[in-house]
Every structure is written in structure tokens, then in C-alpha cells.
């Protein structure tokens, strides 16, 4: 048996030496695999453009879903990750400051805009549709699932700046005695939302456009006071961010960028040029999101079909 082991070991080494050589090449564009549908759809469109009209290579690195990790890889510029498909600003101000303004190792395109609001399902809308309503203890009690006297709202996932932003806003609206945040991953929240809507239970949550849940579920945004001078004063990176910040008006539109590693300018100039020029239309992104998230179509098909049908737009990006 000892002999056989020797032989097997030899074979394994030989095979390993073969497969080892098929590691990522320099030209290959590695795209981050962010979890929300918009980011996914954009990732597949970018891949389709690079592999189609640009006739180069791109991979969506499965499981590469952590924003900070993707950015760190882009900063390194070794091809381990090259594209951050859906960079929400100012939600990701920390990343922006560190890599785009600071190290300047990451470039961005021209952004498209998204909105961020609090929502309730339509069947709750006659009871709750403005911030004023949230101040009603009876309303808060309806949303209280764990019986501790405070209503729960989903503020986003741990690590999103918007999560802190909503906590600041609830504080600034004077809602902290009545409401408490739930901080959960998007997937977990979506599961909760689905059940809540199926069972017609009250649920208050942060969401954004473009996303498919607006088409899938009948949901209504909570009206917030209009923006005034000085209504937004955020210091979310401080130790005492909650006390130090203040925000008591509607959220400004988010700018959403595609960020890419500047190392691509050497490794795959055509792709770098494309990524710096890509200009996304929120309506189009929303259309992709619907097909992928709601209609459960294969994102590869969605992306390739769109690219084939809209070569004029794509040509504008790559030339």
C-alpha cells in the first residue's frame, strides 16, 4: 500500500501542476459578487459587455460579496477583484474616502441616482404614511414583535452606512422611545418581508430604488419632511456617531457608481475605458432587476440579450 501512496502522490503533484497553471490571467476582469439584485444585474451586464463587444474575459467571483474585501482587492490591483458594481454614496463614504479620494487606486464612472426611504406594505398605509404617524405609541405597538414595548424597523445590514443613518434619523425625529432598529442581512430581511406580506403583518423597513421588491409587493413610502438647510449633519464614523449626528428630513438621492481598479488601465485598457464610461439609466437597471429578481430569469440571459439589443448604447460606453 505504501508504494501505491507514493504513486498517487506523484500523480497528484503532476495533476496539480497542470491545473495550477489555469489561474487568473492578467487580462481577466474579476467582478465582485454583491448580494443585492441591482448589483448582480449590473455585474452580469458588465460581464456580457466585456465578453461580447470587447471580446475579452470577465468572471464574477462567486462569494466575493463583502464590500470591504472587494475594495481591498481592487486597491491591491492583482486581478483578484476589479469591479465594485453598485457603490452607493454617501452610504459608503468610508470606502470612498479611503480608496477613491485617498489611495486613488480605484476609479468610478458617472453615477446614476437612487432613492432611499422607509416603507410599509400598502395594507398598512391608511394607518401609517408619514413620520408623524410613527410618533403614535399605538402605531409603534402594532409593529412590536418581541413584546418589549418598542416597534421594530429594518434599518439595513450591519456595516451599511445607511443603517446608522436611519438610526440617526429615528433619533432626530424623536422616535427612539417607540422604535428600535433590526439590523439584518438583506436576504434575511427579504425572507421576513415575504412572510409578513403573506400574513398581512405590520412591517416597517428601509428600502431603495431601483429594486424589484417595488414591483413584486405593493409597498408605500413614509413621507418625510422636506429638506431644509442644515437638516442633514452626519458624522457616522465617529465613536459617538449617534449623539453627534442629526438628520430630520428626507434623504437626498443616492449616487450609485461603478467602481473599478485602476490597475485595469494597464492590464486591460479596453475594459478600464469601458468601466469609466459606462452610464447606467435607473429605469434600465430597474428593468434588469425586475427580470432577474422578480421573474427569476437567468441573469446571464438578461444581460446578453440586453447587450445584443442595445448595441448603440453599449458602443457609446466602449468607444
Amino acid at each position: 500500500m505504501r508504494y501505491i501512496k507514493c504513486l498517487l502522490a506523484g500523480a497528484v503533484i503532476a495533476v496539480a501542476s497542470v491545473t495550477g497553471s489555469s489561474a487568473q490571467d492578467d487580462v481577466t476582469v474579476s467582478i465582485g459578487d454583491l448580494t443585492w439584485t441591482g448589483a448582480k444585474a449590473i455585474a452580469y451586464v458588465i460581464k456580457a459587455v466585456i465578453e461580447g463587444p470587447l471580446d475579452s474575459e470577465a468572471v464574477i467571483v462567486e462569494g466575493l460579496s463583502d464590500g470591504s474585501v472587494i475594495m481591498a482587492g481592487m486597491d491591491k490591483g492583482d486581478g483578484s477583484s476589479d469591479v465594485y458594481t453598485d457603490l452607493w454614496m454617501p452610504n459608503r463614504q468610508g470606502i470612498w474616502d479611503k480608496y477613491i479620494d485617498g489611495a486613488q487606486s480605484v476609479g468610478v464612472n458617472e453615477p446614476y441616482f437612487g432613492t432611499q426611504q422607509m416603507y410599509v406594505p400598502a395594507y398598512m398605509a391608511d394607518r401609517v404614511n408619514t413620520v408623524e404617524h410613527l410618533l403614535d405609541p399605538e402605531v409603534a405597538a402594532m409593529f412590536d414583535k418581541d413584546g418589549n414595548g418598542k416597534g421594530e424597523y429594518w434599518a439595513g445590514d450591519a456595516g451599511w452606512k445607511s443603517t446608522r443613518m436611519w438610526q440617526v434619523k429615528f433619533k432626530s425625529y424623536g422616535l427612539t422611545d417607540l422604535w428600535e432598529p433590526e439590523i439584518l442581512p438583506d436576504a434575511t430581511f427579504k425572507a421576513q418581508l415575504k412572510t409578513a406580506i403573506q400574513r398581512e403583518q405590520p412591517i416597517l423597513f428601509y428600502y431603495w430604488t431601483p429594486e424589484w421588491i417595488h414591483a413584486a409587493y405593493d409597498i408605500v413610502a413614509i413621507e418625510e419632511p422636506g429638506r431644509t438647510e442644515g437638516c442633514e449633519d452626519l458624522h457616522l464614523d465617529q465613536e459617538d456617531w449617534l449623539e453627534a449626528s442629526h438628520y430630520n428630513c428626507a434623504t437626498s438621492d443616492a449616487s450609485i457608481y461603478v467602481a473599478y481598479s485602476k490597475s485595469l488601465e494597464d492590464r486591460n485598457p479596453a475594459a478600464a475605458k469601458f468601466l469609466s464610461q459606462i452610464k447606467l439609466d435607473p429605469d434600465v437597471v430597474n428593468q434588469w432587476i425586475l427580470m432577474v429578481g422578480r421573474d427569476k430569469m437567468d441573469p446571464r440571459d438578461v444581460a446578453e440579450d440586453w447587450v445584443n439589443d442595445n448595441m448603440d448604447i453599449v458602443n457609446g460606453w466602449i468607444n
Binding site: 508504494y3 501505491i4 507514493c6 504513486l7 506523484g10 500523480a11 503532476a14 495533476v15 501542476s17 497542470v18 497553471s21 489555469s22 490571467d25 492578467d26 487580462v27 471580446d55 463583502d66 470591504s68 474585501v69 481591498a72 468610508g94 414583535k145 418581541d146 413584546g147 421594530e152 445590514d157 450591519a158 456595516g159 451599511w160 433590526e182 439590523i183 439584518l184 442581512p185 436576504a187 434575511t188 430581511f189 425572507a191 421576513q192 415575504k194 412572510t195 403573506q198 400574513r199 437567468d298 446571464r300 440571459d301
Partner: protein, 515 residues
């Protein structure tokens, strides 16, 4: 001293043709005088044909694999050289394919030369083993038989063509095969090669397509009650495969249950919440000085002074780094989960330990509970038990209960038959047998089970945090989401210290019991 020819006779009988050579070799193997570099040249050259003729199938497999790997590598060299020529206009592809082709060339030579050498070296040594077996059992292959060669060549002929074809072709993408499948059903002509490639050298083919199931929703009917509404899929919606169809069915049943029987789960959620509230009020509600003293006292009583010092140090760590409340929060979650594991797991374990049927039913369930990725049941748990601590507890229970059942069963199973017999002989009834003999004797194992449960519960707190169970797990996830590595390490260490504290105390306590 027996005659030299007498000694050699069995070797010659066994080996048949070329008997003298094998007699010499086997003799020197037995005398341990065989040269360290001895190689059977016939085997080296003949490879698997030699092995087949000699009827040594272990050697046959080895040499067969060596030759196959060589051939596959040569095929790959051909494939990539061709690909390099085909993609001549893209310099990066040419570079890549030429690199690969070179690597495979080296691999082919390396495997062939080394493999054959090792095989030649192995051949006589393993053949001697076959001789030893033949001495015991004359049915073991001996001599040289031509019909075995036929088997070998048939195997070769069966495997080689498809394998070589597979390696020289770029395998089709799964998606293009699905498209092709649809095209075929719509009556389009597809060339044989493409069909063949999709069926045999890619992913396992989709054998049948199922019509997309109806969309199911639960609107309110005219009387205000929820009804089931089926919406047929769009006419142009493509059919789906078995996987999609089944997962849709699972989603639909979960949806149906939550809509119409959600109140049942609400009841369970309420019970869990009440239980947790009680436990939390002890751990979190008690002011930290009192709680710390109580924990130290318990540790001292159960496990002695050295463990108490460790527990004290860990508690100080948690307190100093600002984890006290969070840690106590996590403790309550772990205690609640462990309690449920104990209450459910102990009787289950006893059943498994005592009944063969119980074992057959429960063991596979435990295997699934332990190995199924927790995310798979986290989302359904949300559907049934909403967000927060109750589903967190349940998810933890699913993951942490198996060792309780297994170790209880083991303990019960290991109670000596004669001890049980003695108890019966003195008139024990089944309940007395269980409480006075089996459980006390299984106690060390049960304690080990509890220990495992606690440890595994703690390892679940991070995952439970993903569905809003909070506690130390949330600190870790938040820190990692913000790439605050340091904070994550501190919190992670806190979890580890919690686990070690409980582990040391339980272990010491059960050891003290035994002595």
C-alpha cells in the same frame, strides 16, 4: 536443508512463464536481499498489459491510471496547441494556451517516466504479495492467462475514446445546452456533435422539462378570508427543470403553511420568547457585581479553585472590553438553546440507545441536522418564527442537539448487559431500570453531550445573529461588515472564552462526580 529446486518449485508453479526470474526475485524478497532499485523490466515496458496477463488487478489499475493520465495530458497538449492557433489574433489567449500546452507536455512526460519507473519498481513487490495470497488460496490468479488481456483491452477500449474526446474538446456551457434543448423541442435541427457534446461531456443532461407551475398567491376573498389563488404562468414562459419545479413547490408549501397555520408557530414563538425572557432576566437583569459573584461561586463549587481563576479572568476580560451585557445576552440564548436540547435530546437519546427502530429512524435525521448548512433552515425559520431570538434559538437547537442525542444513546447503549440483567433479576421495573441503573451509568456520556451542546450552541451565535438574535454574534458580524478586524477579534475571543469557561466547568464537574 531442503533441496534448492524444492524451495523454488512453488514460485515457479505460481509464476508460470519466466518462472526462474520470479523465483529468484521472490526468494531475494523473502531473504530481504532484493536490490533497493530492482525494477521489473517486463512490467516497465508492458505496463497494464503485463499486469493484466499476470492477473494482478491492483497493479493493473495503477499502470492503467498512469498511462491514462499520460494520454490525457497529451490530448490536452493537442487541444491547447490547436486553440492557440485558432485564436491567433488574441495575443493573450495565444500566450495562455501555449503556456497550458507546455505545462501539459511537461506533465505528460513527467507522469509517463516517473509513473512507469515507479510501476516497474512496484511490480515485483506487489506481485510477491499476490504470491503470498495464492499460497493461502489457490483461486488467486497465477501464471499468465491470455483471456485476461482481453478484459484489459476491452476496459481500455471502453474508457479511452470518450475520455480522449472529452479532453480534446472545450465542454459546452450548461446554458447553451439548455437553449439547444429548447431549440430541439421546437423542431430545430441541431448537428449531432453538439447534441453529443451536451449529453456526454458537460453537465449531466436535463432529461425532461416540466411546465412552469402556477403562481400561487393568497388574497382575501369576498368574505374577507384568505383564499388560494392560482395564476397560470405566462404563455411564453419556458418550461423548467426538476430542480426549479421542486423548489417552487417547497416555496409554495412554506407560503401556504405560514398563511393558514401561522398562528401555530406564533404560539411556539411566544413560548420560546417567554422562556428566553425568564432566562435573560436572570443573566442580564442581575447587576453585574452580583452576577459575577454568583458565576464565580458556581464555578468554585462545581470545578474547584483553578477553574475559578480561569473563569474569573475570562469574566474580567468580558467586563473590561465592554462585552458584559452582550455576553450575558448570548449566555441566555445559549442556556435557553441548551435547555431545549437537553429536554428534547435526553428522551430521544434514551430511545435511540434502547431501540433499534429508534436508531434507524433518528440517526439519518441527526446526520442531516448536523451537516445541512444552517442558512438552509435559517430562511424557513424566519417564515415560521419571524426574526429575532426565537428562530435563533431554534436554529441553534437544530445544530446543537445531535451530540446530545448521540452521546446519550451511546451512554445508554454502553451500560453493561450484565448490570442491567442484575437489576432485572432483583425485580427492577423498566422505569427503575432506567432511572436507577441506565441513566446513572450513562451519566458521564450524558454530561459530555451537554458539554458538546453548549459548545456547539456558542459556535452558532454568529449565524444566529444573522436573523437578529443579537448578542456577541452581532458584534462580530457588525465588526466584520465594517472591516474592523480588531473589534471582530476581540468579540470572537469573547465568544471563545465564554465557551471555554462553560466547557472547563462542566468537564471538571463531571470528572469530580466520577471520582
Amino acid at each position: 536443508m531442503p533441496d534448492e529446486t524444492d524451495i523454488r518449485k512453488p514460485f515457479v508453479d505460481f509464476a508460470g512463464p519466466n518462472g526462474t526470474y520470479y523465483a529468484d526475485t521472490f526468494l531475494s524478497i523473502q531473504k530481504m536481499t532484493l536490490s533497493r532499485f530492482h525494477i521489473n523490466v517486463a512490467a516497465l515496458v508492458g505496463s497494464f498489459i503485463w499486469a493484466a496477463l499476470r492477473g494482478n488487478w491492483a497493479l493493473f489499475v495503477i499502470s492503467f491510471i498512469v498511462d491514462l493520465i499520460t494520454l490525457v495530458n497529451i490530448a490536452l497538449v493537442y487541444k491547447y496547441s490547436k486553440a492557440a492557433v485558432d485564436n491567433a489574433e488574441k495575443s493573450y489567449l495565444v500566450e495562455r494556451y501555449e503556456g497550458w500546452s507546455q505545462t501539459h507536455m511537461i506533465a505528460a512526460i513527467l507522469v509517463f517516466v516517473l509513473g512507469r519507473l515507479i510501476f516497474g519498481w512496484l511490480a515485483d513487490r506487489l506481485y510477491a504479495v499476490q504470491y503470498e495470497r495464492w499460497r493461502i488460496n489457490r483461486k488467486v490468479n497465477s501464471g499468465v492467462v491470455a483471456s485476461r488481456l482481453l478484459v484489459a483491452l476491452l476496459t481500455f477500449a471502453l474508457i479511452l475514446p470518450l475520455l480522449l474526446y472529452r479532453t480534446t474538446q472545450f465542454s459546452p456551457e450548461e446554458r447553451s445546452c439548455i437553449r439547444q434543448d429548447r431549440a430541439i423541442t421546437q423542431g430545430e435541427e441541431v448537428v449531432f456533435k453538439k447534441r453529443f457534446d451536451c449529453y456526454f461531456i458537460g453537465e449531466f443532461p436535463t432529461l425532461f422539462w416540466i411546465d412552469r407551475p402556477d403562481e400561487i398567491s393568497y388574497p382575501r376573498g369576498e368574505d374577507g378570508n384568505r383564499i388560494v389563488k392560482r395564476t397560470p404562468p405566462r404563455a411564453d414562459a419556458p418550461p423548467v427543470n426538476l430542480n426549479t419545479y421542486t423548489s417552487q413547490a417547497i416555496d409554495d408549501s412554506i407560503g401556504y403553511v405560514t398563511v393558514f397555520y401561522g398562528f401555530l408557530f406564533d404560539g411556539i414563538t411566544q413560548i420560546l420568547r417567554a422562556m428566553l425572557t425568564a432566562i435573560t432576566s436572570v443573566f442580564v437583569g442581575t447587576p453585574w457585581p452580583i452576577m459575577m459573584c454568583v458565576l464565580l461561586y458556581v464555578a468554585y463549587k462545581m470545578a474547584g479553585i483553578r477553574t475559578t481563576i480561569f473563569v474569573g479572568a475570562s469574566l474580567v476580560y468580558l467586563a473590561l472590553f465592554g462585552f458584559w451585557q452582550t455576553a450575558m445576552d448570548t449566555m441566555s440564548l445559549v442556556v435557553a438553546a441548551s435547555l431545549i436540547c437537553f429536554i428534547v435530546g435526553l428522551p430521544l437519546g434514551i430511545w435511540v440507545g434502547k431501540s433499534e427502530r429508534g436508531k434507524i429512524i433518528v440517526t439519518p435525521i441527526l446526520d442531516v441536522m448536523q451537516t445541512i448548512p444552517s442558512f438552509v433552515y435559517l430562511l424557513p425559520a424566519i417564515a415560521f418564527f419571524s426574526i429575532g431570538k426565537p428562530p435563533g434559538i431554534l436554529a441553534t437547537v437544530i445544530f446543537a442537539m445531535p451530540p446530545m442525542v448521540r452521546l446519550t444513546a451511546l451512554g445508554i447503549h454502553q451500560v453493561p448487559e450484565n448490570t442491567k440483567e442484575a437489576a432485572l433479576a432483583f425485580g427492577a421495573n423498566p422505569r427503575q431500570l432506567l432511572t436507577k441503573v441506565e441513566i446513572p451509568l450513562a451519566l458521564p456520556s450524558i454530561m459530555a453531550g451537554i458539554n458538546q451542546v453548549v459548545m456547539m450552541s456558542l459556535s452558532m451565535v454568529v449565524i444566529a445573529a444573522l436573523i437578529g438574535a443579537g448578542g456577541m454574534g452581532y458584534v462580530v458580524t457588525e465588526a466584520l461588515e465594517n472591516t474592523e478586524t480588531g473589534r471582530g477579534v476581540l468579540a470572537g475571543l469573547g465568544i471563545a472564552l465564554l465557551a471555554m469557561m462553560i466547557d472547563r466547568v462542566v468537564q471538571k464537574a463531571s470528572k469530580a462526580r466520577r471520582n
